[in-house]
């Protein structure tokens, strides 16, 4: 028994090291000047770390604006998703009928028809609305989230009816029920969904790539891609500094919410 656990630890440590290595590389390179990167110990942590790369990326590209845009887009998507889907999930969970059952299936199918597959028609729609090159265009297609409806319906269904009945006797209408019973009791699911939504849309690339054509509205991921194409010759220090810059906020957010996220994920049965 004991021996096996030693084998467990050796395997897991080895795997963890391999998986962490790219992150290590990202941070180590971001603090090196170009001379050090061409030197012989370029894979090891710098002896004289420098913040120069971070200053230079802000001079070379509008990463500040990209950050603000990303935050606007990601928050806009999440808020609208919750506002739109919470009432819908309430209907799916508590008012089952043929029609709501059929509509629910349409929401579930949407999970499996990613926007990435539908960029051409969606581009035409945004063009018709005159929304090309706007932040709104980066938000709207993600608002009707089938995944959110699926998760919240599961969570709402698990809430005991007795709580609801008590609230109804106290004079709660639909909105009161949502505010006082359903939303507070589904907090773990809402947290996990929010985390997944933010991480997913922080990561969005293809849709913002085709829908934007100016720096004023671009997001971080697109900014990074442009930056690579415009900087001729690989200045790895600067590239990695930019990479760290677009990654750090999401990692920090996760570390803050890590405990809630992992516990909810492992207990609430949210599985893909």
């Amino acid at each position: 028994m004991k021996q096996r656990h030693i084998a467990h630890y050796i395997i897991l440590l080895l795997v963890s090291l391999i998986i962490v290595f790219p992150l290590y590389l990202m941070f180590v390179m971001a603090f090196k000047d170009s001379k050090e990167i061409l030197g012989s110990r370029y894979l090891l942590p710098s002896l004289s770390p420098t913040f120069d790369n971070f200053i230079r990326i802000f001079q070379a590209a509008s990463f500040g604006i990209y950050l603000v845009n990303t935050i606007i887009v990601v928050t806009g998507i999440l808020v609208l998703q919750l506002v739109m889907i919470i009432p819908a999930a309430y209907v799916f969970a508590r008012f089952p009928s043929r029609i709501s059952g059929f509509l629910f299936i349409l929401y579930v199918i949407q999970i499996m028809l990613p926007l990435e597959a539908l960029i051409i028609p969606n581009y035409r729609i945004m063009n018709a609305f005159g929304l090309i090159n706007t932040r709104v265009a980066m938000i709207l297609p993600f608002v009707g989230s089938g995944y959110c409806a699926f998760l919240l319906r599961q969570a709402f269904k698990q809430i005991p009816r007795s709580l609801e009945d008590a609230a109804v006797i106290d004079g709660c209408g639909h909105f009161g029920l949502l505010r006082n019973v359903f939303i507070p009791l589904s907090k773990p699911t809402i947290t996990v969904f929010s985390m997944i939504s933010v991480a997913t849309h922080w990561n969005d690339y293809l849709w913002p790539l085709i829908i934007t054509d100016s720096n004023i509205v671009r997001t971080l991921t697109i900014g990074l891609g442009m930056f690579v194409q415009h900087e001729s010759g690989a200045d790895w220090g600067m590239l990695m500094a930019a990479t760290v810059f677009i990654t750090l906020p999401i990692i920090l957010l996760f570390l803050i919410l890590q405990h809630t996220f992992l516990e909810s994920f492992l207990t609430s049965g949210i599985k893909g």
């Binding site: 656990h5 390179m29 029609i99 051409i120 009707g144 639909h174 293809l206 991921t221 891609g225 949210i270």
Partner: protein, 291 residues
Amino acid sequence: MKKRDPRIFLFLLPSFIFLSIFTYYPIFDAVGLSFHRYGAFNPKPIFQGLKNYIDFFKDPIFWQIILNNVLFGLGTILPTMIMALIFAILINEVRSLRTFFRLSLFYPMLIPYAAAAMVWVFIYDPSLGPINLILKLLKLKPIGWLGDSRYSLIAIIIMTVWKNLGYYMLIFLAGLQNIPRDLYEAATVEGTNWSQKHWHITIPLVGPSTLFVFVVSVIQSFKVFTQIYLMTEGGPGYSSNVLIYRTYEYGFKFWQLGRASTLTTLMIMILLFLVLIVFGVWGRKITYQAA
């Protein structure tokens, strides 16, 4: 509260409008345009029947791209799921360092693909990259990775496995929590060894939900774009080109929106076929819950 109050559907209406405009209307739009010649040089759509489809089916590049999609899908999902299950079992059985292992496996999930692509371009760099450095130390021939048509797709696959492993590990870890402990204790009393124990208990019990995760992953694998756009641009040649990337090229590089819609329609057909499988596997449960 009356059950049959039709006004309750007003709660569904806002999100359903979004769903209709950005998911369901686009399907009809793409199907309609797929029969037309339409693009930057033909601003008015001209109906031409099945010509776009026939042209694609005759085009060897199209078939290579389909093959790449299949290879990418299976090449990422199978290894990811197998490794994720093994690591989930291992993590579940150790006492200390659990959080460290969970975090170090999971964090790549949070890194945007654009950022991950940058780091991996460096890792695959023929001269500076650590992988070739190790190959050289082992006296093996260095590999051109992203610049070599034999390896470009494999390179993208490895990077994608690294990125998704932790997510699947968490899914399995959650599944493992539902297996009653006494099953394992009984097996230990019976004198079965570690691998027998998991082969006969863990895999059959985690298996059914795994099938569902597998099909959904196949669907998700069609979304691959960012790493290909930033790491290989579908090349060299067409060696790492996939359906979405090709659609992007037709739509926004060649500006042939008719043909891009044909590819979109084909992709929708493939996805809806997979959706049917999902419903076949899981459907009864979903419809049962919905009704």
